[in-house]
């Protein structure tokens, strides 16, 4: 009987093994990093996440690219550009560059790519990054079908002219962004959704795509047609798709990778003394949202009391412990030229006074309140500490409620909460990426808060050309947000926690935790 069963069981096993070994590469790339979960897409205008952004930035290059240290825009495919007197017209002069198939890349490619990104059929999440361009929004919303009215045109093969709605000071930051990167027309039209597969993809960045195995790895190889190929050091890169942060750490720790994005939180304290541990301020803030449309949080005194009764220093020191920075504002530190307002201090006495003034002395008569967060250990720890602090300093009882992620999102969106955990990662290095979130009716506002002065200021900032004045306007707006009205309660600024081996050179820490791989090299000699 076993004689019959064994071959039946073993034959498929042998077959599967053969498939596994013939379809999986066994050699290792020159540089391997743990990238995180499986990338959602590698189609530049479709992507939304950081880990996809890192890969796409290696494969594609926009008009500008990030300076590796301060992330300011430096020439990419455009060698230089002019900005008109009124700040509304940008003229980009393109280098003579080639796609990875050797064909020339021209200004027409950018016109096509931006049209594609805005086309309702493409359904790009981030199409709104192009809304600063004249008439881009109505085109994306389907109200305008004639693309020639949208403010982008190719003057000749190597000159691109862009008309903006407003003098958008951070427009050159956006041209480094994946949404605005060029896509090869022939390739995208010939292969449809499959154009990003390794056998089809035509790209224009320092590297090209050699292999993409779902939930396994992405292999990139140096692109010989890249205009600056002489300065690209690495020959090949593996981006490992490892979902579990613990597994990622195991791989790094046992020598399976040179670079690790994200460190298991319980290990942070132990690892923080090591030479290969790197922590840096990140462009992201953890905060709480108040639903200001219903009592008791329609009263600003209650909101302020709750803010001033939280010892944020204690939270980062004893709960998060990754080197996070306590926050009194929404915009994280490190924005060039921006001086943030002071926000509210930790002051339990003042908090108690405000709460009494609002009609709840010592927390008496305070309505039943729920604190909503999406299910995760880290969120729960923070929620519990805040709950205790409010109990201790204000005498109010708050119930903790957790929901699965998607349920949480829809609850918050429908304003079906009282206090909810919030988080925001900036897209570009400008206060606008945080502050325009809370304009009246903004999709990410989700607090029900509306302040006419605030709206006016955000609008004024968009039209202001003078950098110092613009920052002053933002400061005034943020002061309304975090000191006067407080629809949100900032808790702390995130940090990026990475590890990389000493032989990985050319990595510069920065706010977005983006390290263009073209500058990275492996040097095992000098340490």
């Amino acid at each position: 009987m076993l004689k019959v069963l064994l071959p039946i069981v073993l034959a498929p096993a042998i077959l599967c093994t053969t498939i596994t070994f013939t379809t999986h590469r066994q050699n290792r790339a020159e540089f391997t990093y743990v990238s995180g979960p499986e990338p959602e897409t590698l189609d530049p205008p479709l992507l939304t996440g950081f880990l996809e952004g890192r890969i796409v930035a290696a494969l594609f290059e926009g008009l500008t690219q990030y300076e590796p240290k301060d992330l300011s825009p430096i020439p990419g495919i455009a060698s230089h550009w002019n900005v008109s007197e009124d700040g509304r017209t940008y003229t980009f002069y393109l280098r003579d560059t080639k796609w990875s198939n050797g064909e020339p890349l021209t200004a027409h490619d950018f016109v096509y790519s931006w049209k594609r990104a805005l086309d309702p059929i493409t359904a790009a999440d981030y199409a709104y990054q192009l809304y600063y361009i004249k008439n881009a929004r109505p085109f994306n919303e389907g109200r305008l079908t004639d693309f020639s009215q949208v403010g982008v045109r190719a003057v000749d093969d190597y000159t691109l002219e862009v008309q903006l709605e407003n003098p958008t000071a951070f427009f050159l930051d956006l041209t480094s962004f994946p949404t605005l990167m060029p896509v090869n027309r022939k390739c995208a039209e010939a292969h449809g959704d499959d154009w990003t597969l390794p056998e089809n993809m035509v790209c224009n960045g320092p590297f090209r795509l050699a292999e993409w195995k779902i939930n396994d790895r992405i292999r990139m190889e140096k692109n010989p047609f890249y205009w600056d190929a002489q300065h690209v050091k690495l020959q090949s890169i593996d981006a490992l798709a490892i979902e579990s942060i613990n597994t990622g750490f195991n791989v790094y720790e046992t020598g399976g990778a040179d670079y690790l994005y994200g460190v298991p939180l319980p290990l942070v304290e132990t690892l923080s003394d090591r030479k290969d541990f790197h922590s840096h301020v990140f462009l992201a803030t953890f905060f709480l949202r108040f639903n200001v449309t219903a009592p008791p949080f329609d009263d600003v005194r209650v909101r302020k009391a709750l803010d001033m009764a939280i010892d944020k220093e204690g939270i980062v020191k004893y709960v998060t412990r990754g080197g996070e920075i306590p926050a009194a504002t929404l915009v994280p530190p490190g924005m060039p030229n921006y001086q943030p307002p002071e926000g509210l201090p930790f002051n339990p006495e003042e908090a108690q006074r405000l709460l009494a003034e609002a009609g709840y002395p010592g927390g008496h008569g305070f309505p039943k309140t729920e604190y909503l967060f999406n299910t995760s250990e880290a969120n729960k720890d923070i929620a519990e500490v805040i709950q205790q602090m409010w109990k201790k300093y204000l005498g109010i009882d708050v119930t903790l409620v957790n929901q699965e992620w998607k349920v949480f999102l829809s609850t918050v969106k429908n304003l079906d909460y009282q206090i909810a955990r919030g988080n925001w990662i900036g897209d570009y290095v400008d206060p606008n990426t945080f502050l325009d979130m809370f304009v009246t009716g903004g999709g990410n506002n989700r607090t029900g808060w509306s302040n006419r002065r605030y709206d006016q200021l955000i609008e004024a900032a968009a039209e202001e050309k003078d950098e110092d004045k613009r920052m002053e306007i933002f400061r005034e707006a943020e002061n309304i947000l975090v000191a006067d009205d407080l629809p949100i309660l900032p808790v702390y600024y995130h940090v990026s926690l990475d590890m990389y081996r000493p032989h990985v050179k050319g990595v510069s820490p920065n706010l977005l935790n983006i390290h263009p791989w073209k500058y990275v090299r492996i040097d095992r000699e000098t340490n």
């Binding site: 009987m1 596994t20 897409t41 189609d43 939304t48 994306n140 959704d193 779902i214 195991n250 998607k406």
Partner: protein, 293 residues
Amino acid sequence: MAIVLLIIATASFFLMRFAPGGPFDKERTLPEAIEKNLRAKYHLDRPLAVQYIIYMGGLIRGDLGPSFKYRNRSVNTIIAQSFPISLTLGIYALSLAFIVGVSAGTFAAVNKHSALDYTTMSITLLGISLPNFFLGLILLLLFCFELPLFPAAGWGRPGQMVLPILTLAAPFTAYIARLMRASMLDVLSQPYIRTARAKGLSEFQVVSRHALKNAITPIVSFMGPAAAAVLTGSIVIEKIFAIPGLGTHFVNAALNRDYTLVMGTVLLYSFLLVLFNLAVDIAYSFIDPRVRL
């Protein structure tokens, strides 16, 4: 079988849509117009009944639709890439469990109440009671950190397969061994075995030629549910060892409200469950002549 699958497809299609939150709900709310574009692209703007008909139409043609989360991948591609890996892992684990379990169980039964018997049975008790994520971590600690013999994660090289297969096989091996021991003891006390011994056959011949065939029946019936359990059990192991199998998608698709991928994985798993049970029924008829199909 087709009817069972149709019911499952229909039920999961509608249940999925009733879950709060949708595939396009993210930390960043999309501008209304953009969400409208997305919904139109994936037919979510049509009435539910129409969506159902579109989906079933695709299903009949063998097209499971595009994934909502992995924007450039179809569900067919995702399954085609990841399922063979889960299958490989499962087949190896199950074969290992079968071979080791049956041998250990037989061995323990033949030498019952000896020190060997007690040792084997104690180990199997441990194997059953240890949750496999825990066992996986212990193995990782021992063979990746303390004694670096195997890589910590990944798939493709033979070394990378050892720890996940061992972890996955452990509880099944243990269970089969205990089942086999009990069944073998039962068979060995039967009159026909006494006859075989009386004929002067060696103990090895008695066990291998006469007892084994009858004693193995309960193991075969266990293999059906075991195959199903291996598939679901591998979800945890795929996560610990970062194996690019289907288990990860099975869990994440539901969390992401990736409707089509949920449907695809649910249908595949259901199909396999039905198939395994059928296979066990067929196998019975080979082993036990009293069973007729």
